[in-house]
Symmetry: C2
Subunit: 281 residues, 2 copies
Protein backbone atom coordinates (compact mmCIF):
# COMPACT_ATOMS: atom_id res chain seq x y z
CA UNK A 1 0.00 0.00 0.00
CA UNK A 2 0.99 3.58 -0.57
CA UNK A 3 -0.28 6.89 0.71
CA UNK A 4 -1.38 9.99 -1.16
CA UNK A 5 -1.45 13.71 -0.43
CA UNK A 6 -3.02 16.36 -2.64
CA UNK A 7 -3.77 20.07 -2.50
CA UNK A 8 -5.96 22.46 -4.47
CA UNK A 9 -5.90 26.14 -3.51
CA UNK A 10 -7.08 29.49 -4.87
CA UNK A 11 -3.72 31.15 -4.11
CA UNK A 12 -0.18 29.76 -4.36
CA UNK A 13 0.18 27.85 -1.10
CA UNK A 14 3.00 25.83 0.36
CA UNK A 15 2.27 22.30 1.47
CA UNK A 16 5.06 21.94 4.02
CA UNK A 17 2.81 21.31 7.03
CA UNK A 18 0.92 18.37 5.47
CA UNK A 19 4.02 17.14 3.64
CA UNK A 20 5.85 16.90 6.96
CA UNK A 21 3.10 14.64 8.32
CA UNK A 22 3.21 12.47 5.21
CA UNK A 23 7.01 12.12 5.34
CA UNK A 24 6.79 10.82 8.92
CA UNK A 25 4.72 7.94 7.56
CA UNK A 26 7.62 7.19 5.19
CA UNK A 27 9.85 5.55 7.80
CA UNK A 28 8.90 6.84 11.25
CA UNK A 29 5.19 6.36 11.98
CA UNK A 30 4.60 4.28 8.85
CA UNK A 31 6.47 1.82 6.64
CA UNK A 32 6.13 3.49 3.25
CA UNK A 33 9.88 3.54 2.74
CA UNK A 34 10.20 2.68 -0.96
CA UNK A 35 10.46 6.20 -2.31
CA UNK A 36 8.49 9.41 -2.36
CA UNK A 37 7.65 12.13 -4.82
CA UNK A 38 5.82 15.41 -5.06
CA UNK A 39 4.58 17.40 -8.08
CA UNK A 40 3.96 21.14 -7.89
CA UNK A 41 1.92 22.63 -10.74
CA UNK A 42 3.12 26.21 -11.05
CA UNK A 43 1.58 28.39 -13.78
CA UNK A 44 1.79 26.16 -16.83
CA UNK A 45 4.84 24.27 -15.59
CA UNK A 46 5.19 21.32 -13.29
CA UNK A 47 8.10 20.67 -10.94
CA UNK A 48 8.37 17.05 -9.82
CA UNK A 49 10.76 15.92 -7.10
CA UNK A 50 11.47 12.19 -6.75
CA UNK A 51 13.61 10.18 -4.38
CA UNK A 52 13.57 6.37 -4.24
CA UNK A 53 14.92 6.61 -0.66
CA UNK A 54 12.67 6.60 2.46
CA UNK A 55 11.02 10.00 2.81
CA UNK A 56 11.50 10.15 6.58
CA UNK A 57 15.27 10.17 6.17
CA UNK A 58 15.72 11.70 2.70
CA UNK A 59 17.80 14.89 2.46
CA UNK A 60 15.54 15.93 -0.45
CA UNK A 61 12.42 15.51 1.69
CA UNK A 62 14.13 17.51 4.44
CA UNK A 63 14.91 20.26 1.93
CA UNK A 64 11.28 20.33 0.73
CA UNK A 65 10.02 20.53 4.32
CA UNK A 66 12.17 23.64 4.79
CA UNK A 67 11.55 25.39 1.47
CA UNK A 68 8.22 27.13 0.85
CA UNK A 69 7.46 26.08 -2.73
CA UNK A 70 4.07 27.60 -3.45
CA UNK A 71 1.56 26.27 -5.96
CA UNK A 72 -2.18 26.00 -6.45
CA UNK A 73 -2.04 22.29 -7.12
CA UNK A 74 0.33 19.75 -5.65
CA UNK A 75 0.24 16.01 -5.27
CA UNK A 76 2.56 13.71 -3.36
CA UNK A 77 3.02 9.98 -2.80
CA UNK A 78 4.93 7.70 -0.45
CA UNK A 79 5.48 4.19 -1.70
CA UNK A 80 5.41 0.76 -0.24
CA UNK A 81 6.28 -1.34 -3.26
CA UNK A 82 4.14 -4.28 -4.27
CA UNK A 83 4.55 -4.29 -8.07
CA UNK A 84 7.80 -3.03 -9.57
CA UNK A 85 11.18 -2.66 -7.89
CA UNK A 86 12.30 0.35 -5.89
CA UNK A 87 13.71 2.77 -8.48
CA UNK A 88 13.42 6.31 -9.80
CA UNK A 89 11.35 5.08 -12.75
CA UNK A 90 8.79 3.47 -10.42
CA UNK A 91 8.47 6.45 -8.08
CA UNK A 92 5.19 8.40 -8.21
CA UNK A 93 3.96 10.97 -9.18
CA UNK A 94 4.23 10.15 -12.87
CA UNK A 95 3.93 12.89 -15.45
CA UNK A 96 3.14 13.18 -19.15
CA UNK A 97 2.22 15.97 -21.54
CA UNK A 98 -1.23 15.97 -23.14
CA UNK A 99 -2.71 18.87 -25.20
CA UNK A 100 0.34 20.98 -24.31
CA UNK A 101 -0.33 20.61 -20.57
CA UNK A 102 1.52 18.70 -17.90
CA UNK A 103 -0.53 15.95 -16.25
CA UNK A 104 0.61 14.35 -13.01
CA UNK A 105 -0.66 11.21 -11.32
CA UNK A 106 -0.20 9.25 -8.10
CA UNK A 107 -1.97 6.02 -7.15
CA UNK A 108 -2.60 3.76 -4.20
CA UNK A 109 -3.75 0.18 -4.84
CA UNK A 110 -3.36 -2.73 -7.21
CA UNK A 111 -5.05 -3.22 -10.58
CA UNK A 112 -5.29 -6.83 -11.69
CA UNK A 113 -4.53 -7.26 -15.37
CA UNK A 114 -4.18 -3.60 -16.24
CA UNK A 115 -0.89 -4.28 -17.99
CA UNK A 116 -2.78 -6.26 -20.62
CA UNK A 117 -4.77 -3.16 -21.58
CA UNK A 118 -3.33 -1.93 -24.86
CA UNK A 119 -1.61 1.42 -25.16
CA UNK A 120 -1.49 3.58 -28.28
CA UNK A 121 0.46 6.75 -27.50
CA UNK A 122 1.95 6.71 -24.03
CA UNK A 123 4.34 4.01 -22.84
CA UNK A 124 5.35 3.30 -19.24
CA UNK A 125 9.01 3.87 -18.44
CA UNK A 126 8.90 1.82 -15.24
CA UNK A 127 7.13 -1.42 -14.38
CA UNK A 128 4.29 -0.44 -12.05
CA UNK A 129 0.58 -1.09 -12.59
CA UNK A 130 0.08 2.55 -11.70
CA UNK A 131 2.10 4.05 -14.54
CA UNK A 132 0.43 1.70 -17.03
CA UNK A 133 -2.97 2.82 -15.75
CA UNK A 134 -1.96 6.48 -16.11
CA UNK A 135 -0.73 5.91 -19.67
CA UNK A 136 -3.98 4.13 -20.52
CA UNK A 137 -6.10 6.91 -19.05
CA UNK A 138 -4.27 9.63 -21.02
CA UNK A 139 -4.40 7.46 -24.15
CA UNK A 140 -8.18 7.28 -23.83
CA UNK A 141 -8.53 11.03 -23.30
CA UNK A 142 -6.29 11.70 -26.28
CA UNK A 143 -8.31 9.43 -28.51
CA UNK A 144 -11.59 11.07 -27.48
CA UNK A 145 -10.53 14.72 -27.61
CA UNK A 146 -8.08 16.38 -29.98
CA UNK A 147 -7.75 19.38 -27.71
CA UNK A 148 -8.78 20.25 -24.17
CA UNK A 149 -12.57 19.81 -24.05
CA UNK A 150 -15.00 21.77 -21.90
CA UNK A 151 -14.56 21.19 -18.21
CA UNK A 152 -17.80 19.27 -17.65
CA UNK A 153 -17.10 16.99 -20.63
CA UNK A 154 -13.56 16.34 -19.43
CA UNK A 155 -14.66 15.60 -15.86
CA UNK A 156 -17.29 13.12 -17.07
CA UNK A 157 -14.71 11.33 -19.20
CA UNK A 158 -12.18 11.16 -16.36
CA UNK A 159 -14.88 9.80 -14.03
CA UNK A 160 -15.84 7.08 -16.50
CA UNK A 161 -12.21 6.05 -17.10
CA UNK A 162 -11.41 6.01 -13.39
CA UNK A 163 -14.38 3.76 -12.79
CA UNK A 164 -13.07 1.30 -15.38
CA UNK A 165 -9.75 1.16 -13.53
CA UNK A 166 -11.54 0.88 -10.17
CA UNK A 167 -13.24 -2.28 -11.50
CA UNK A 168 -9.81 -3.98 -11.68
CA UNK A 169 -9.04 -3.65 -7.96
CA UNK A 170 -8.11 -0.67 -5.83
CA UNK A 171 -7.79 2.72 -7.46
CA UNK A 172 -7.33 5.54 -4.97
CA UNK A 173 -5.76 8.15 -7.17
CA UNK A 174 -4.89 11.80 -7.56
CA UNK A 175 -4.61 13.26 -11.06
CA UNK A 176 -4.04 16.82 -12.23
CA UNK A 177 -4.01 18.65 -15.55
CA UNK A 178 -2.57 21.78 -13.98
CA UNK A 179 -5.96 23.49 -13.62
CA UNK A 180 -8.00 20.82 -11.84
CA UNK A 181 -7.23 18.17 -9.23
CA UNK A 182 -9.15 14.92 -9.77
CA UNK A 183 -9.47 12.60 -6.76
CA UNK A 184 -10.88 9.11 -7.22
CA UNK A 185 -11.74 6.97 -4.20
CA UNK A 186 -11.85 3.20 -4.41
CA UNK A 187 -11.90 2.66 -0.67
CA UNK A 188 -9.81 5.28 1.11
CA UNK A 189 -9.45 8.97 0.42
CA UNK A 190 -10.39 11.89 2.68
CA UNK A 191 -10.34 15.66 2.33
CA UNK A 192 -10.90 18.88 4.19
CA UNK A 193 -11.22 22.48 3.09
CA UNK A 194 -9.67 25.28 5.09
CA UNK A 195 -11.18 28.74 4.70
CA UNK A 196 -11.89 31.78 6.93
CA UNK A 197 -12.30 31.87 9.84
CA UNK A 198 -9.09 29.86 10.11
CA UNK A 199 -8.05 27.91 13.19
CA UNK A 200 -5.32 25.65 14.48
CA UNK A 201 -4.30 22.25 13.18
CA UNK A 202 -2.10 19.61 14.75
CA UNK A 203 -0.38 16.80 12.86
CA UNK A 204 -1.14 13.21 13.90
CA UNK A 205 2.31 11.89 12.96
CA UNK A 206 4.66 14.64 14.14
CA UNK A 207 4.86 17.19 16.92
CA UNK A 208 3.87 20.13 14.80
CA UNK A 209 0.93 22.49 14.82
CA UNK A 210 0.03 25.59 12.90
CA UNK A 211 -2.31 28.51 13.45
CA UNK A 212 -3.70 29.12 9.98
CA UNK A 213 -5.19 32.45 11.09
CA UNK A 214 -1.60 33.69 11.21
CA UNK A 215 -0.68 32.14 7.85
CA UNK A 216 -3.67 32.62 5.58
CA UNK A 217 -5.46 35.66 4.16
CA UNK A 218 -9.25 35.95 4.63
CA UNK A 219 -10.06 34.93 1.06
CA UNK A 220 -7.83 31.86 0.94
CA UNK A 221 -9.45 28.51 0.22
CA UNK A 222 -7.25 25.46 0.51
CA UNK A 223 -8.39 21.85 0.16
CA UNK A 224 -6.10 19.06 1.31
CA UNK A 225 -6.65 15.40 0.41
CA UNK A 226 -4.99 12.36 1.95
CA UNK A 227 -5.36 8.61 2.07
CA UNK A 228 -5.75 8.93 5.84
CA UNK A 229 -6.35 12.23 7.71
CA UNK A 230 -3.11 14.00 8.59
CA UNK A 231 -4.41 16.25 11.39
CA UNK A 232 -6.11 15.30 14.64
CA UNK A 233 -8.39 18.27 15.16
CA UNK A 234 -10.00 18.98 11.81
CA UNK A 235 -13.17 17.54 10.23
CA UNK A 236 -11.82 15.39 7.42
CA UNK A 237 -14.54 13.94 5.23
CA UNK A 238 -14.26 10.58 3.54
CA UNK A 239 -14.98 10.45 -0.18
CA UNK A 240 -17.58 7.85 -1.15
CA UNK A 241 -16.37 4.57 -2.62
CA UNK A 242 -16.34 4.76 -6.37
CA UNK A 243 -16.66 8.56 -6.42
CA UNK A 244 -14.62 11.10 -8.34
CA UNK A 245 -14.31 14.55 -6.79
CA UNK A 246 -12.86 17.38 -8.84
CA UNK A 247 -11.32 20.47 -7.25
CA UNK A 248 -10.37 23.79 -8.78
CA UNK A 249 -9.02 26.79 -6.86
CA UNK A 250 -9.61 24.95 -3.59
CA UNK A 251 -13.32 24.34 -4.25
CA UNK A 252 -15.02 21.08 -5.09
CA UNK A 253 -16.56 21.71 -8.49
CA UNK A 254 -17.94 18.22 -9.07
CA UNK A 255 -18.62 14.96 -7.31
CA UNK A 256 -19.40 12.12 -9.66
CA UNK A 257 -20.60 9.27 -7.47
CA UNK A 258 -21.29 5.77 -8.78
CA UNK A 259 -24.89 5.09 -9.86
CA UNK A 260 -25.76 3.06 -6.77
CA UNK A 261 -24.76 5.89 -4.46
CA UNK A 262 -26.13 8.83 -6.38
CA UNK A 263 -29.35 8.76 -4.38
CA UNK A 264 -27.73 9.39 -1.03
CA UNK A 265 -24.13 10.54 -0.97
CA UNK A 266 -24.89 12.29 2.29
CA UNK A 267 -21.37 12.43 3.58
CA UNK A 268 -20.31 14.32 0.48
CA UNK A 269 -23.22 16.72 -0.01
CA UNK A 270 -23.67 17.68 3.64
CA UNK A 271 -22.74 21.29 4.35
CA UNK A 272 -20.49 21.78 7.40
CA UNK A 273 -22.40 22.90 10.50
CA UNK A 274 -21.46 26.22 12.09
CA UNK A 275 -19.32 24.66 14.79
CA UNK A 276 -17.53 22.52 12.24
CA UNK A 277 -16.82 25.45 9.98
CA UNK A 278 -15.01 27.21 12.79
CA UNK A 279 -13.16 24.02 13.58
CA UNK A 280 -12.13 23.50 9.94
CA UNK A 281 -10.76 26.94 9.44
CA UNK B 1 22.24 33.27 -24.58
CA UNK B 2 22.24 30.32 -22.25
CA UNK B 3 24.89 27.88 -21.11
CA UNK B 4 24.92 24.10 -21.13
CA UNK B 5 26.57 21.38 -19.06
CA UNK B 6 26.47 17.66 -19.80
CA UNK B 7 28.04 14.48 -18.49
CA UNK B 8 28.41 10.92 -19.75
CA UNK B 9 30.16 8.39 -17.50
CA UNK B 10 30.70 4.65 -17.27
CA UNK B 11 29.89 4.60 -13.55
CA UNK B 12 27.32 6.61 -11.57
CA UNK B 13 29.13 9.90 -11.00
CA UNK B 14 28.13 13.08 -9.25
CA UNK B 15 28.39 16.33 -11.16
CA UNK B 16 28.73 18.68 -8.20
CA UNK B 17 32.15 20.06 -9.13
CA UNK B 18 31.16 21.15 -12.65
CA UNK B 19 27.65 22.12 -11.54
CA UNK B 20 29.16 24.49 -8.97
CA UNK B 21 31.11 26.24 -11.73
CA UNK B 22 28.01 26.52 -13.90
CA UNK B 23 25.91 27.94 -11.05
CA UNK B 24 28.45 30.71 -10.52
CA UNK B 25 27.73 31.82 -14.08
CA UNK B 26 24.06 32.08 -13.10
CA UNK B 27 24.37 35.35 -11.18
CA UNK B 28 27.97 35.75 -9.99
CA UNK B 29 30.47 35.46 -12.84
CA UNK B 30 27.76 35.45 -15.52
CA UNK B 31 24.30 36.89 -16.10
CA UNK B 32 22.32 33.72 -16.83
CA UNK B 33 19.85 34.50 -14.07
CA UNK B 34 16.54 33.45 -15.66
CA UNK B 35 16.34 29.97 -14.21
CA UNK B 36 18.30 26.76 -14.16
CA UNK B 37 17.61 23.06 -14.40
CA UNK B 38 19.38 19.73 -14.29
CA UNK B 39 18.27 16.26 -15.40
CA UNK B 40 19.81 13.10 -13.96
CA UNK B 41 19.16 9.90 -15.89
CA UNK B 42 19.25 7.14 -13.28
CA UNK B 43 18.58 3.56 -14.43
CA UNK B 44 15.46 3.93 -16.55
CA UNK B 45 14.20 6.95 -14.64
CA UNK B 46 14.98 10.61 -14.95
CA UNK B 47 14.98 13.13 -12.13
CA UNK B 48 14.69 16.73 -13.29
CA UNK B 49 15.16 19.70 -10.96
CA UNK B 50 13.99 23.12 -12.11
CA UNK B 51 14.08 26.56 -10.55
CA UNK B 52 13.13 29.73 -12.44
CA UNK B 53 15.24 31.70 -9.91
CA UNK B 54 18.93 32.62 -10.48
CA UNK B 55 21.09 29.53 -9.94
CA UNK B 56 23.80 31.43 -8.06
CA UNK B 57 21.37 32.27 -5.26
CA UNK B 58 18.84 29.43 -5.47
CA UNK B 59 18.40 27.26 -2.36
CA UNK B 60 17.69 24.33 -4.69
CA UNK B 61 20.99 24.87 -6.53
CA UNK B 62 22.73 25.07 -3.17
CA UNK B 63 21.11 21.77 -2.13
CA UNK B 64 22.21 20.11 -5.39
CA UNK B 65 25.79 21.37 -4.91
CA UNK B 66 25.83 19.66 -1.50
CA UNK B 67 24.09 16.39 -2.38
CA UNK B 68 25.95 13.73 -4.34
CA UNK B 69 23.28 12.61 -6.82
CA UNK B 70 25.04 10.03 -8.97
CA UNK B 71 24.12 9.19 -12.54
CA UNK B 72 25.75 8.10 -15.78
CA UNK B 73 24.10 10.85 -17.78
CA UNK B 74 23.21 14.34 -16.63
CA UNK B 75 22.50 17.57 -18.41
CA UNK B 76 22.05 21.06 -17.03
CA UNK B 77 21.17 24.52 -18.31
CA UNK B 78 21.30 28.10 -17.08
CA UNK B 79 19.02 30.50 -18.86
CA UNK B 80 19.24 34.03 -20.07
CA UNK B 81 15.81 34.49 -21.59
CA UNK B 82 15.40 35.79 -25.12
CA UNK B 83 12.18 34.03 -26.24
CA UNK B 84 9.55 33.16 -23.65
CA UNK B 85 9.08 34.65 -20.19
CA UNK B 86 10.87 33.49 -17.06
CA UNK B 87 8.75 30.62 -15.73
CA UNK B 88 8.87 26.98 -14.70
CA UNK B 89 7.38 25.94 -18.04
CA UNK B 90 10.17 27.71 -19.95
CA UNK B 91 13.02 26.33 -17.83
CA UNK B 92 15.30 23.74 -19.46
CA UNK B 93 15.96 20.81 -19.51
CA UNK B 94 12.70 19.72 -21.12
CA UNK B 95 11.63 16.09 -20.95
CA UNK B 96 9.26 13.81 -22.84
CA UNK B 97 8.69 10.06 -23.07
CA UNK B 98 9.38 8.30 -26.37
CA UNK B 99 9.41 4.47 -26.86
CA UNK B 100 9.00 4.02 -23.09
CA UNK B 101 12.18 6.02 -22.38
CA UNK B 102 12.69 9.44 -20.88
CA UNK B 103 14.34 11.94 -23.22
CA UNK B 104 15.79 15.18 -21.90
CA UNK B 105 16.92 18.24 -23.81
CA UNK B 106 18.63 21.58 -23.22
CA UNK B 107 19.46 24.20 -25.83
CA UNK B 108 21.48 27.36 -26.35
CA UNK B 109 20.62 29.63 -29.27
CA UNK B 110 17.71 30.96 -31.29
CA UNK B 111 15.91 29.22 -34.14
CA UNK B 112 14.16 31.56 -36.55
CA UNK B 113 10.74 30.30 -37.56
CA UNK B 114 10.91 26.95 -35.79
CA UNK B 115 7.51 27.56 -34.23
CA UNK B 116 5.95 27.36 -37.67
CA UNK B 117 7.19 23.78 -38.06
CA UNK B 118 4.16 21.55 -37.58
CA UNK B 119 3.92 19.13 -34.66
CA UNK B 120 2.02 15.87 -34.75
CA UNK B 121 2.34 14.28 -31.37
CA UNK B 122 4.30 16.33 -28.84
CA UNK B 123 3.15 19.82 -27.86
CA UNK B 124 5.16 22.47 -26.07
CA UNK B 125 3.92 23.44 -22.62
CA UNK B 126 5.91 26.68 -22.51
CA UNK B 127 6.64 29.27 -25.18
CA UNK B 128 10.32 28.83 -26.03
CA UNK B 129 11.79 28.06 -29.44
CA UNK B 130 13.78 25.36 -27.68
CA UNK B 131 10.87 23.29 -26.44
CA UNK B 132 9.20 23.52 -29.86
CA UNK B 133 12.42 22.27 -31.47
CA UNK B 134 12.61 19.38 -28.99
CA UNK B 135 8.98 18.41 -29.67
CA UNK B 136 9.61 18.53 -33.42
CA UNK B 137 12.74 16.38 -33.11
CA UNK B 138 10.95 13.70 -31.08
CA UNK B 139 7.96 13.88 -33.44
CA UNK B 140 10.26 13.12 -36.36
CA UNK B 141 11.93 10.21 -34.57
CA UNK B 142 8.54 8.81 -33.60
CA UNK B 143 7.28 9.01 -37.17
CA UNK B 144 10.38 7.26 -38.51
CA UNK B 145 10.71 4.47 -35.94
CA UNK B 146 7.96 2.63 -34.08
CA UNK B 147 10.40 1.39 -31.46
CA UNK B 148 13.98 2.15 -30.49
CA UNK B 149 16.07 1.49 -33.64
CA UNK B 150 19.66 0.27 -33.76
CA UNK B 151 22.14 2.73 -32.31
CA UNK B 152 23.83 3.66 -35.58
CA UNK B 153 20.48 4.24 -37.28
CA UNK B 154 19.25 6.37 -34.39
CA UNK B 155 22.43 8.44 -34.29
CA UNK B 156 22.26 9.14 -38.01
CA UNK B 157 18.65 10.26 -37.70
CA UNK B 158 19.42 12.52 -34.73
CA UNK B 159 22.35 14.05 -36.63
CA UNK B 160 20.20 14.77 -39.68
CA UNK B 161 17.42 16.34 -37.58
CA UNK B 162 19.86 18.45 -35.58
CA UNK B 163 21.35 19.75 -38.78
CA UNK B 164 17.90 20.85 -39.97
CA UNK B 165 17.47 22.82 -36.75
CA UNK B 166 21.00 24.23 -37.01
CA UNK B 167 20.02 25.67 -40.41
CA UNK B 168 17.50 27.94 -38.65
CA UNK B 169 20.04 29.74 -36.49
CA UNK B 170 22.04 28.62 -33.47
CA UNK B 171 21.55 25.12 -32.14
CA UNK B 172 24.03 24.18 -29.44
CA UNK B 173 22.16 21.38 -27.74
CA UNK B 174 22.40 18.44 -25.40
CA UNK B 175 19.93 15.58 -25.78
CA UNK B 176 19.69 12.23 -24.01
CA UNK B 177 17.60 9.09 -24.32
CA UNK B 178 18.91 7.69 -21.03
CA UNK B 179 21.57 5.52 -22.71
CA UNK B 180 23.35 8.04 -24.94
CA UNK B 181 24.20 11.72 -24.69
CA UNK B 182 23.93 13.59 -28.00
CA UNK B 183 25.79 16.89 -28.27
CA UNK B 184 25.25 19.12 -31.28
CA UNK B 185 27.49 22.12 -31.86
CA UNK B 186 26.32 25.08 -33.92
CA UNK B 187 29.12 27.37 -32.81
CA UNK B 188 30.06 26.73 -29.20
CA UNK B 189 30.37 23.44 -27.33
CA UNK B 190 33.48 21.91 -25.77
CA UNK B 191 34.23 18.66 -23.98
CA UNK B 192 36.91 16.78 -22.11
CA UNK B 193 37.24 13.19 -20.99
CA UNK B 194 38.73 12.33 -17.62
CA UNK B 195 40.25 8.86 -17.23
CA UNK B 196 43.25 7.26 -15.46
CA UNK B 197 45.76 8.53 -14.61
CA UNK B 198 43.62 11.22 -13.01
CA UNK B 199 44.90 14.65 -12.01
CA UNK B 200 43.74 17.91 -10.51
CA UNK B 201 41.19 20.34 -11.89
CA UNK B 202 40.44 23.91 -10.87
CA UNK B 203 37.22 25.77 -11.65
CA UNK B 204 37.44 29.01 -13.62
CA UNK B 205 34.40 30.61 -11.97
CA UNK B 206 34.78 29.59 -8.31
CA UNK B 207 37.55 28.94 -5.83
CA UNK B 208 37.28 25.18 -5.96
CA UNK B 209 39.61 22.44 -7.06
CA UNK B 210 39.49 18.68 -6.95
CA UNK B 211 42.05 15.89 -7.11
CA UNK B 212 40.30 13.28 -9.21
CA UNK B 213 42.96 10.68 -8.31
CA UNK B 214 41.37 10.72 -4.85
CA UNK B 215 37.82 10.58 -6.15
CA UNK B 216 37.85 8.22 -9.12
CA UNK B 217 38.60 4.51 -9.55
CA UNK B 218 41.15 3.44 -12.19
CA UNK B 219 38.51 2.26 -14.67
CA UNK B 220 36.32 5.36 -14.51
CA UNK B 221 35.73 7.31 -17.70
CA UNK B 222 33.86 10.59 -17.39
CA UNK B 223 33.21 13.05 -20.20
CA UNK B 224 32.02 16.55 -19.37
CA UNK B 225 30.60 18.96 -21.95
CA UNK B 226 30.02 22.68 -21.59
CA UNK B 227 29.26 25.72 -23.72
CA UNK B 228 32.51 27.21 -22.41
CA UNK B 229 35.22 25.28 -20.53
CA UNK B 230 34.61 25.15 -16.79
CA UNK B 231 38.14 24.35 -15.63
CA UNK B 232 41.37 26.28 -16.19
CA UNK B 233 43.90 23.46 -16.31
CA UNK B 234 42.37 20.75 -18.49
CA UNK B 235 42.52 20.27 -22.28
CA UNK B 236 38.96 21.02 -23.35
CA UNK B 237 38.36 20.33 -27.03
CA UNK B 238 35.92 22.33 -29.12
CA UNK B 239 33.40 20.38 -31.15
CA UNK B 240 33.36 21.30 -34.83
CA UNK B 241 30.62 23.60 -36.08
CA UNK B 242 27.72 21.58 -37.39
CA UNK B 243 28.94 18.35 -35.77
CA UNK B 244 27.01 15.88 -33.64
CA UNK B 245 29.04 13.91 -31.09
CA UNK B 246 27.41 10.97 -29.32
CA UNK B 247 28.68 9.68 -26.00
CA UNK B 248 27.88 6.44 -24.17
CA UNK B 249 29.47 5.33 -20.90
CA UNK B 250 31.84 8.30 -21.04
CA UNK B 251 33.21 7.43 -24.49
CA UNK B 252 32.59 9.22 -27.75
CA UNK B 253 31.00 6.57 -29.93
CA UNK B 254 30.31 8.75 -32.95
CA UNK B 255 31.15 12.11 -34.44
CA UNK B 256 28.95 13.06 -37.35
CA UNK B 257 30.51 16.15 -38.89
CA UNK B 258 28.85 18.15 -41.67
CA UNK B 259 29.85 17.15 -45.23
CA UNK B 260 32.14 20.15 -45.75
CA UNK B 261 34.20 19.26 -42.70
CA UNK B 262 34.35 15.51 -43.07
CA UNK B 263 37.67 15.67 -44.86
CA UNK B 264 39.58 17.30 -42.03
CA UNK B 265 37.97 17.34 -38.59
CA UNK B 266 41.45 17.38 -37.10
CA UNK B 267 40.52 18.87 -33.78
CA UNK B 268 38.08 16.06 -33.16
CA UNK B 269 40.05 13.06 -34.42
CA UNK B 270 43.41 14.02 -32.92
CA UNK B 271 44.52 11.67 -30.13
CA UNK B 272 45.77 13.40 -26.98
CA UNK B 273 49.55 13.50 -26.67
CA UNK B 274 51.14 11.80 -23.67
CA UNK B 275 51.56 15.02 -21.70
CA UNK B 276 47.99 16.03 -22.40
CA UNK B 277 46.65 12.68 -21.29
CA UNK B 278 48.24 13.11 -17.89
CA UNK B 279 46.87 16.64 -17.74
CA UNK B 280 43.36 15.52 -18.68
CA UNK B 281 43.19 12.79 -16.14
Amino acid sequence: MCELLGMSANVPTDLRFSFTGLMHRAGRTGRHTDGFGIAFHQDDGCRVFHDPAPGAHSPLAHFLREQPIRSRIALAHIRRANRGRVSVANTHPFQRELWGRWWSFAHNGQLRGVKRWPLAYYRPVGTTDSEHAFCWLLDQLRQRFETLPKEATLCRAVAELCRQLHALGTFNALLSDGARLYAFCSNRLAYLTRRAPFGHARLIDATLQVDFSQEAAPGDIVTVLATRPLTADEPWQALARGALAVFRDGKRILTDAPPAQRAAPAALRRRPRAGEARQTA
